[in-house]
């Protein structure tokens, strides 16, 4: 409970936590999945788990783009960077993600021209500044990030910029939720929906979860009180025997999403028939591909890409953790072979991955307590 002091409105937090305890049926065990890695990070950072009754379990979902990217795609991206004429650009999050022969950062140390950009705009700028080099942008992210990549591709086309391309690894959140719901060992009762993805896609794309699957979903903000209020809203639905899409994050998320962002995505991208997710395998129509009209700026069409497939390590149980069957610490490799410093599985890769978040806050806390002889 030590985090409570840091909350801006401890009174409101206390009230929300009290309401949760009042609504939760002690005879039931609830499993709610927070889809977005940002929520996972917030839940651990604020110790929100400690505010919930023990029969409410939060399961951490697939909404961490770095975590779900298969290692083969990193290898494919790095294969392009072997050409000395190529400048490989990516967000900082990507730099430490291991490929078969090391991370982008390690490849940089071996002499490849690998640079961090904070915005795809800067990758484009770099291409304009280096007309005799080819600048490749390694694009990752859900619908929050994909519209920016779309606008950059539209701009490259307008400018007729021939030395720029995008290696597109954008994924879409809805098919991942569907894959989790379709899994035979699925044990989720309701969802805390992603906040910033929904700024783009709006709330309608989640309606099937409520209507067809009978599961409540509440789009949530990222403050502690937002997450707790979303849990209150879920519990109210469950108590009333309802399943609806509700928007807790109305101050940022419009019900219809962002038309301009959706237009840009529709102009530039189409759905891939299938795409591989780390820990979850192949999921139909779960990723974006650059349309033929933009083929000239599609790294996959410009370069010979080996199409590397690296099987997820068998001992790592990422899939089970993603589906809520196992808790991070129940995986055989957790904290032993697999740590944030040397990740084996997908979920240990980024601070938004459930295993890395669990390791940083829970495991360390437990180790510290054990070392001073305190009961854990």
């Amino acid at each position: 409970m030590k985090f409570v002091d840091e909350f801006r409105e401890p009174g409101v937090i206390g009230k929300a936590a009290e309401e949760i305890r009042r609504l939760a049926d002690p005879a039931k065990h609830y499993r709610f999945m927070e889809v977005c890695g940002g929520h996972t990070h917030a839940i651990y950072r604020f110790g929100l788990k400690d505010l919930l009754p023990s029969n409410i379990e939060l399961v951490h979902g697939p909404g961490c783009p770095v975590c779900v990217l298969p290692m083969g795609r990193i290898d494919d991206g790095l294969s392009m960077a072997q050409d000395p004429n190529v400048i490989f650009t990516a967000f900082g999050d990507m730099m430490r993600v291991p490929g078969t022969h090391g991370s982008p950062l390690e490849h940089k140390a071996r002499g490849m021209d690998i640079r961090i950009v904070y915005s795809p705009t800067d990758a484009l700028k770099l291409a304009q500044k280096n007309p005799d080099r080819h600048v490749m942008f390694f694009a990752i992210g859900f619908e929050t990030t994909a519209p920016s990549t779309a606008l950059i591709l539209m701009r490259a086309k307008e400018l007729g910029l021939s030395n720029f391309s995008v290696f597109c690894n954008h994924v879409t959140i809805i098919p991942a939720i569907r894959a989790i719901l379709d899994s035979p060992d699925m044990r989720i009762h309701a969802f805390v929906g992603p906040g910033h993805v929904s700024t783009v896609i709006g709330c309608r794309p989640y309606e099937w979860i409520a209507k067809n699957e009978g599961k409540p979903i509440v789009i949530s903000g990222f403050e502690p009180v937002d997450v707790l209020q979303s849990i209150v809203m879920i519990l109210r639905q469950l108590k009333a025997g309802e399943a609806k899409v509700e928007n807790q994050y109305t101050r940022v998320v419009p019900w219809e999403g962002s038309k301009a962002a959706l237009r840009a995505m529709a102009e530039v991208f189409e759905l891939r028939p299938y795409f591989e997710w780390r820990g979850m395998g192949f999921i139909s129509q779960s990723a974006l591909k650059i349309r033929d009209g933009y083929a000239q700026w599609d790294s996959e069409q410009r370069f010979q890409i080996p199409g590397v497939r690296v099987t997820d390590p068998k001992a790592a149980q990422c899939g089970e953790v993603l589906k809520g069957v196992l808790k991070p610490a129940q995986c055989k490799l957790f904290g032993k072979e697999c740590t944030p410093e040397k990740p084996v599985g997908a979920l240990m890769v980024s601070s938004e991955g459930s295993c890395a978040a669990y390791y940083s806050y829970e495991h360390r806390k437990a180790s510290a307590l054990t070392s001073i002889g305190a009961p854990v």
């Binding site: 990030t145 519209p147 920016s148 962002a261």
Partner: protein, 91 residues
């Protein structure tokens, strides 16, 4: 990854559509407003930015709340670093 940073629009450029100068915790950088083409921001408005693009307009109160959230999340420095990095770190 889905970090959204609140920024105040300081200046717009009539000759360059979709470009705005914004200020985030004392750092001024150019961002792209192309995703708000249907309802472009004005100078003085607050926007949420992600990877150098304005995603949505928000109120000043919400912006200040969001800054507080980032601070509480321990993401304040990461946000500052991201914004400082826009424009390849040029000042």
């Amino acid at each position: 990854m889905c970090l959204a940073i609140p920024a105040k629009v300081v200046e717009l450029f009539p000759e360059e559509q979709n470009k705005a100068l914004v200020e985030v915790v004392g750092v001024r950088r150019h961002i792209d407003t192309g995703l708000l083409a249907d309802d472009p921001p004005k100078a003085g408005d607050w926007v949420l930015i992600h990877v150098g693009f304005a995603m949505s307009k928000i109120s000043e109160e919400q912006a200040l709340d969001q800054i507080q959230t980032l601070t509480m999340l321990g993401e304040h420095d990461a946000a500052k670093q991201e914004v400082e990095g826009y424009g390849l770190g040029e000042t």
